[in-house]
């Protein structure tokens, strides 16, 4: 095991896959000369040259479409969006083209492409630059969506995404890039798409989450442990396909669940997961499934308001206590 940052883990994944397969190339704004807005592509231009590491104009729809075309004719593009806030412009290429070609051609075409970049609110970048976009992509059948929350998962999932025969959206976290963690060194480190990971085992309550919110969930679990509450933390890692089996096994064990996510509540990933839980594990539920999400407002710029709008440790603990029925009785 080596301790790497999330950024280095992604860089390793790109390097290894580009070395392994000459059809893999990276394209996006400032990925080559500037080595990436978040330095994920550091050293790649030097190593692989301009044919495989391409700077594009500021034209998300254009280079996303270019990528889809390249994938259709046999290349394996990795398209970096500087952030997913800018990828709305390319939504047509992602959901209407990449997601549909295999289906509409009756399987004659495939679109093995990766769209990746930071997703979700960072700090004080205001309403237009603070989107958590997972719901837009997860909504459309035909796209796979992953949201790694640790360096190891970032490397393993990006490698799986590049090798996948279908379009995969890799949602990274701006605030995760500097996070360090153990990443397996020896041999192939690949994390299968569609498999959730129990990041912490527990018996009293399941916090199901994905992406950067995982770390808040782990913090809440540590906090509750002091009170003798054993929290299980399930990191979905993949949003499409969704690992319902792992979620249900956890809920059947703990009888209560909350969903924690960085995005808005309406039609969110938590809404989908809560629906699955009540459909499949109704008789195991001792409490309603609650969600802790971003407030249902455009992200405020003011720091104090932004902190209020984002899921916080305090809100997470409050939700946990509600499903644990810990307020109903004094001294329990």
């Amino acid at each position: 095991m080596a301790e790497l940052t999330y950024r280095e883990a992604l860089n390793q994944a790109l390097t290894e896959e580009m070395e392994r397969d000459g059809a893999v190339f990276l394209m996006g704004e400032e990925v080559a000369q500037y080595q990436g807005a978040y330095k994920v592509s550091k050293g790649l231009l030097e190593k692989f040259g301009y044919r495989r590491v391409l700077d594009t104009p500021i034209s998300e729809l254009g280079f996303a479409g270019l990528g889809v075309g390249a994938a259709l004719v046999g290349l394996r593009p990795v398209i970096e969006f500087m952030t997913f806030n800018f990828a709305f412009l390319a939504l047509d290429q992602l959901t209407n083209t990449a997601a549909k070609w295999r289906y509409m051609s009756g399987g004659q075409f495939k679109v093995p492409i990766v769209f990746r970049g930071p997703n979700g609110p960072a700090l004080q970048v205001a309403a237009q630059h603070s989107h958590a976009c997972e719901t837009y992509y997860s909504h459309a059948p035909g796209l796979k969506v992953v949201a790694p929350a640790t360096p190891a998962d970032a490397k393993g999932l990006l490698k799986s995404a590049i090798r996948d025969e279908d379009p995969v959206i890799v949602l990274e976290g701006e605030l995760l890039y500097n996070m360090k963690g153990e990443v397996p060194e020896n041999g192939e480190h690949v994390v299968p798409i569609g498999k959730a990971d129990v990041k912490r085992e527990g018996t009293d309550l399941s916090i199901v989450t994905h992406g950067p919110a995982l770390h808040l969930a782990l913090q809440a679990a540590a906090e509750l442990e002091k009170d003798g509450v054993s929290v299980e933390v399930v990191d979905l890692r993949s949003l499409r396909p969704l690992d319902a089996e792992t979620i249900l096994a956890s809920v059947k064990k703990t009888n209560r669940a909350i969903y924690l996510e960085q995005g808005w509540p309406f039609g969110g990933i938590g809404a989908q997961v809560a629906s699955i839980i009540q459909e499949e594990a109704f008789d195991w539920l001792d409490a309603p499934v609650l969600r802790v999400t971003q407030a249902d407002v455009p992200m405020p710029y003011a720091k104090n308001l932004e902190l209020t709008a984002k899921p916080s440790l305090e809100r997470t603990l409050r939700a946990c206590e509600r499903v644990l029925y810990r307020n109903g009785r004094a001294g329990r």
Partner: protein, 410 residues
């Protein structure tokens, strides 16, 4: 204004009624004409409907308790209304089961302070898990206190109730001597078994009887009885032929568990223990005291038990657990000179043996007509449980045992 709920005369001759079941719990809302309770009268179980509306504030006669016609058995009122005058001082509800001792008063107060789960509009609020656990534990949700928001019953409430108070909250609490799961094995129904059950029940009523008759040579049984009685003489005891028959039936049941079974709707319950009911005529009818584990008792022990139970049966002193729980019954009318008859099955038993008298009868043995002590026995079988060949094999074993009583000792 509060309304008294009286025990009503639900049959022309009813003098008192027993509350079989309350359909409403304290705190439930009640409207005019809604069924409040099932009342067992001298004739049948009838529904008692509400004559007022509001909240069922107090139940004064608990399930299983009786009240004379005219007595106030519950009070309907408004939330918060003072009903003290109606329920009277110290009119605590009569409990079907005794209050458990050893409960700390403080705990009791805490229970009172909790809102009943039914406080809002009659629906019991409970988490899905709590509902499932309560059903599995045989707990009635409406009797539990919920500790969740708005009085919701949650897992911990069910678990606590199951641990703490099996008696008042449990439905179908096993009576002493009532079967527990280790007493039987359950056999799922095959499609053929289901079809046999359905078709035959359509044909001749809910318990489709058929009858198998066999005659037995009772020479050796007679000799055995005489020898046993000679041995018992000094103890001043004796056994009847029926005691020997009961013991043989019990032994045969042990060998034929398919006969020692009961129909349970969606499955067959195969008893692991053999309890033989013995029909005893009493003044106003008959009753069948039960010899428990008859296959594990000696015939003298069976004899003294039958004598003791029959005596108390005639004196109407039998306790319910002494006349329930049989897995098979024996009815003997030999003492009335009956040659042969059929008995009606006592559900949920699947079989009953009707025994006639031992009589001298000419039979052909080794090509000669000889006079032998013979006895006719007819087994009534519930065809849903016991097929013809199954019953016949049981009777063969029984015949072998009575024609050579030493076989009972095998």
């Amino acid at each position: 204004m509060a309304t008294k709920v009286h025990m009503e005369a639900l049959s022309p001759t009813m003098e008192e009624g027993q509350v079989v079941k309350w359909h409403k719990a304290e705190g439930d809302s009640v409207s005019h004409g809604e069924v409040l309770a099932d009342i067992e009268t001298d004739k049948a179980t009838m529904e008692l409907v509400a004559r007022g509306k509001g909240i069922l504030r107090r139940i004064l006669t608990a399930e299983g308790q009786s009240a004379p016609v005219g007595e106030v058995i519950a009070v309907i009122g408004q939330e918060g209304e003072d009903i003290g005058a109606l329920v009277g001082a110290g009119a605590a509800p009569k409990q079907a089961a005794p209050e458990q001792a050893g409960e700390e008063p403080r705990e009791e107060e805490a229970e009172e302070a909790r809102p009943p789960a039914t406080a809002n509009g009659g629906r019991v609020k409970a988490s899905p898990l709590a509902r499932r656990l309560a059903a599995e534990a045989g707990l009635e949700l409406s009797r539990l206190q919920g500790s969740g928001p708005g009085g919701r019953i949650v897992k911990r409430d069910v678990e606590e109730a199951a641990e703490r108070a099996p008696a008042p909250a449990r439905v179908g609490v096993p009576a002493p001597g009532a079967p527990t799961e280790k007493d039987y094995e359950e056999i799922p129904l095959s499609q053929m078994r289901k079809t046999i059950a359905r078709r035959l029940a359509e044909s001749i009523g809910p318990v489709p009887h058929y009858f198998l008759t066999i005659d037995l040579d009772m020479d050796r049984a007679r000799q055995a009885r005489a020898r046993i009685n000679a041995l018992l003489d000094e103890r001043g005891e004796k056994i009847s032929m029926n005691d020997l028959i009961i013991r043989a039936v019990a032994g045969a049941l042990r060998q034929h568990p398919a006969v020692n079974s009961a129909w349970h709707g969606d499955r067959i319950r195969r008893w692991r223990r053999v309890h033989v009911g013995v029909a005893v005529a009493v003044e106003e009818g008959l009753i069948t005291p039960v010899i428990r584990d008859a296959d594990r008792k000696g015939v003298a022990e069976i004899a003294s038990e039958v004598r003791e139970l029959a005596g108390r049966a005639r004196a109407k002193k039998l306790k319910p657990e002494e006349y329930t729980g049989a897995t098979f019954s024996v009815s003997n009318l030999g003492m009335f000179g009956i040659h042969e008859f059929t008995a009606v099955i006592n559900p949920p038993e699947a079989g009953s043996l009707a025994v006639g008298q031992v009589e001298e009868h000419p039979v052909v043995m080794n090509g000669q007509v000889v006079v032998r002590p013979r006895m006719w026995a007819t087994m009534s079988c519930d065809h849903r449980v016991i097929d013809g060949a199954t019953g016949a094999r049981f009777l063969q074993t029984l015949k072998a045992m009575l024609e050579e009583p030493a076989a009972i000792l095998l």
